[in-house]
Symmetry: C2
Subunit: 331 residues, 2 copies
């Protein structure tokens, strides 16, 4: 099924208005990862996933209606060529909303994510763009519909529509109308995420291609949905019972299992750098000493630490340059 067929079911036939709009959407860190698509066109996942949104870290997007035939795309204060990869992705996504109507925008995108922290900006970027389009075109769509639309821009963007813990239900429908983010009714004051920066020696394989290679070549991937399903239950239990050890263990094993499916691919897909391994070993040593410290990792060399506010000072002693986020508010 095509993305345009899905939007035809969700959006009004004619856009009612076009005005300036500005929106923010947070980055999100998955505790159970999205890894593998059952539909590459619609970004429908093979497994459910669960994330926590990063409060103030994410993407600000401003839309300003302009005259002309092409969108004007600015990224972090720099105007991009219309043929640039990012410009084309943005315009193709706006196409889903404007359809046959001539409606062009100046799109200003600003990410406030620390450089090299290895947070994908596509999730917050497409979420913020979806929210801004909803305003600019006065669509007044419900959150689920916005999440579905954002998902078609970038899978994990469907989780960045919401704050706090967010579940992405994988859904069963071919059109994906049941595959979107749902915020969990749960708060966890004192929950901390720390971003460890590890330099990548060279440009990594992007996660879309990485996923595809894994699904196609790693025998071990066949057991991944099983792992993810088990982890979803454990994470929900951990959040409900505020069981930090269970949450940390589950998130770390989930991330390592995802990386394991990549490592088992051909050609091998190893996002880790020597320093990634050194940071993991440091986490394990601290945990062996009794510290409740866990990590998760996405398709990159960086670690995202999971810990509680009470341990923040100790963690900062060992990881001095850590950028810390408290998704449920700080003291």
């Amino acid at each position: 099924m095509k993305r345009t067929d899905v939007t035809a079911r969700l959006l009004p036939k004619l856009v009612k208005a076009s005005a300036s709009a500005e929106q923010f959407a947070p980055s999100n860190i998955a505790l159970c990862k999205y890894w593998g698509k059952r539909d590459a066109e619609l970004n429908l996942p093979i497994n459910a996933s669960l994330s926590v949104s990063l409060d103030y870290l994410g993407t600000h997007t401003r839309l300003i209606p302009i005259e002309g035939q092409v969108d004007e795309v600015w990224l972090n204060g720099q105007q991009l060529q219309p043929g640039a990869r990012f410009s084309r992705k943005v315009s193709a996504f706006i196409d889903l909303f404007r359809r046959d109507q001539t409606l062009c925008f100046k799109v200003e995108t600003r990410n406030n994510i620390p450089t090299a922290a290895g947070l994908a900006s596509s999730a917050s970027g497409f979420a913020a763009l979806t929210l801004a389009l909803n305003d600019a075109l006065a669509l007044d769509l419900p959150p689920e519909a916005l999440s579905i639309l954002a998902r078609m821009g970038s899978g994990s963007a469907c989780r960045s529509l919401f704050e706090g813990f967010v579940e992405w239900r994988m859904g069963q429908r071919e059109d994906g109308l049941d595959s979107h983010g749902i915020p969990l009714d749960a708060s966890w004051p004192g929950f901390c995420i720390g971003l460890v920066e590890v330099d990548a020696a060279e440009k990594a394989v992007d996660s879309r291609s990485g996923m595809q290679r894994t699904v196609e070549t790693a025998h071990l991937y066949q057991s991944w949905p099983l792992q993810a399903a088990a982890d979803m239950s454990k994470l929900q239990q951990a959040i409900q019972e505020r069981d930090f050890s269970l949450l940390g263990q589950t998130a770390e094993q989930n991330a390592l299992s995802m990386h394991a499916t990549m490592i088992a691919s051909w050609p091998p897909l190893l996002y880790w750098q020597p320093d990634s391994v050194a940071a993991m070993q440091k986490v394990w040593q601290l945990r062996a000493q009794g510290l409740e410290l866990y990590f998760t990792m996405d398709a990159g060399p960086n670690l995202k630490l999971l810990f509680q506010r009470q341990d923040r000072d100790v963690v900062l002693q060992h990881f001095p340059n850590l950028e810390t986020v408290e998704p449920f508010g700080s003291e």
Copy 2:
């Protein structure tokens, strides 16, 4: 089933003689790994495996009958306490052969494997001990029976009974009498193995415990037998057709898949050091430049490089301290 029940089926009831004996058995490097047991007492594997024996690198074992009630165990020129772990393992293995008879030995074991090269000495050690017992006790057992007996000392020892490429057929029987090494009728002049030494910061989890943890906690392990079965076919084809790329790719993906199952375990089992990752990256960079260079790894931080004699000089430029073995003879 107990090990003594199996030996009762293989060995004559009474030992005929007891004399001095000396035997050598080579280390072996698995191209398709033995990872996971269906029977921990008999070391029966969940999957078939395939190795290449390391020519002159391995274990020399001498048995000398002595008076007394306990064996005297020497390792690399040093006498061990009877209560030492290694002594107890050796004596327990000899028990399988002497049964109720009082027959004690001085056991002199010497490994000529480079220190820190990360080659397990238990495979060559139990293979050499089995061969020496066969001589000392004048058992005159056929190679398959010796391989079965060695397997009960250490699983992969059943492959070290033979030179060259060796298949370990997993077998189906409960008593394991169909689970032993079989040498492949194949030679591959110019086939090279290079041992890269990477220092481990701390003592690793032994492979017996590592296997067990993986089988019990890693969801991804469920797909491992599938990977191994596919790799066994590819390796046999590669050996038959002398297709080095196919052999190298298969061995490397197999090793990485085995490590992937460990990484997906809980607690995570990562035998790699930062330098292991650096060495892998170097192999991948050289391969991207056209060099036919692959690696395999066992439950440790070291890489074992696979390449052909024609590329030896180039490989040595990039890995200057490499110990190189040509399992099918050098020029």
